[in-house]
Assembly symmetry: C3
């Protein structure tokens, strides 16, 4: 069964920690051993797993990606958000996380982030527990 | 069971929409609820999910990647296609997509692309429906 | 059941071939048809599948990534390893590989690499065979 996590972004580019929301879906699924698949239904957003302790890490990531993929005069896509589409492909829109003894298996420092590249918007992440 | 989708690329770098071919494999599998895994058996190609409506998006993506990873004089790999290997790792060679009510769960604007980085060639994408 | 592969890195940035270790886990699982999920429990490392024949390919990849994501004066994360976190998100920390007739389905030139971006360290890759 596919569940959805709603995410509200407030900036054009932003990383939003959705770890607790994913844990909640896993808990409610009552699956004790398996995998949890995450999938973003958008083409200007992504999912990544990275450090959850120091918010400067994701601030540095955001700054780096904005310098790497600027809103480029070479781009031809009329909506003017090709940079967001490119970041989406570079970071990737899905993750697969293990479930063991009813809990997500994440490393000590790992958190799950929804990556907004063309906000602010209302977004959805699909979750499937198997 | 593993199925294969054959892809023929016509340029050195190119994004080829394989959404319909993947839908066909899912339909023939008769799986109504599950996941569809895609995997590229090559080291100079990749898979991504991005906008299917305006072809300028993938044109911008191709141009950006070609500027980001040029055929660099620093490279030592004798075949001269290290740029293609690097793009393959940056974009990634697999995807996992949900199946619900017998259909691929994709967002309104999402299409599945085979990414050719060292064509033209005959290529294969492996598909497994679970 | 989740198994772990131990990896010892010897440089700050390095690609370590773990294909044989993964094959061993798959063989011991006695699963003949399914998928093998790999997941890195760290935020400054990654997993990729790329060429296993010529070591110059991964040397070129390492050099390219080090030039793409330098230890940047813009970064604010106090540990000074934001470059490693960024590479981890760009390359991605998981892979899903098919199993057919009890064997990993990899292309002729494909090998599985643990990507160290902040070594030398003792590392762990989680493996789940389904």
């Amino acid at each position: 069964m596919v569940k959805h996590i709603n995410v509200t972004s407030r900036s054009r580019t932003e990383f939003i920690d959705i770890t607790e929301a994913v844990r909640e879906v896993v808990k409610n699924s009552r699956v004790t051993s398996g995998v949890c698949h995450l999938f973003v239904l958008h083409t200007t957003a992504a999912i990544t797993i990275n450090e959850g302790a120091d918010p400067n890490v994701m601030r540095d990531m955001n700054g780096f990606l904005n310098r790497l993929v600027p809103t480029d005069p070479y781009f031809t896509h009329a909506e003017g958000n090709s940079d967001a589409h490119i970041k989406s492909t570079l970071v990737g829109g899905s993750e697969t996380i293990f479930i063991d003894e009813g809990r997500l298996v994440l490393g000590t420092w790992q958190a799950i982030y929804f990556c907004e590249f063309d906000g602010p918007r209302q977004r959805k992440v699909s979750v499937k527990v198997v």
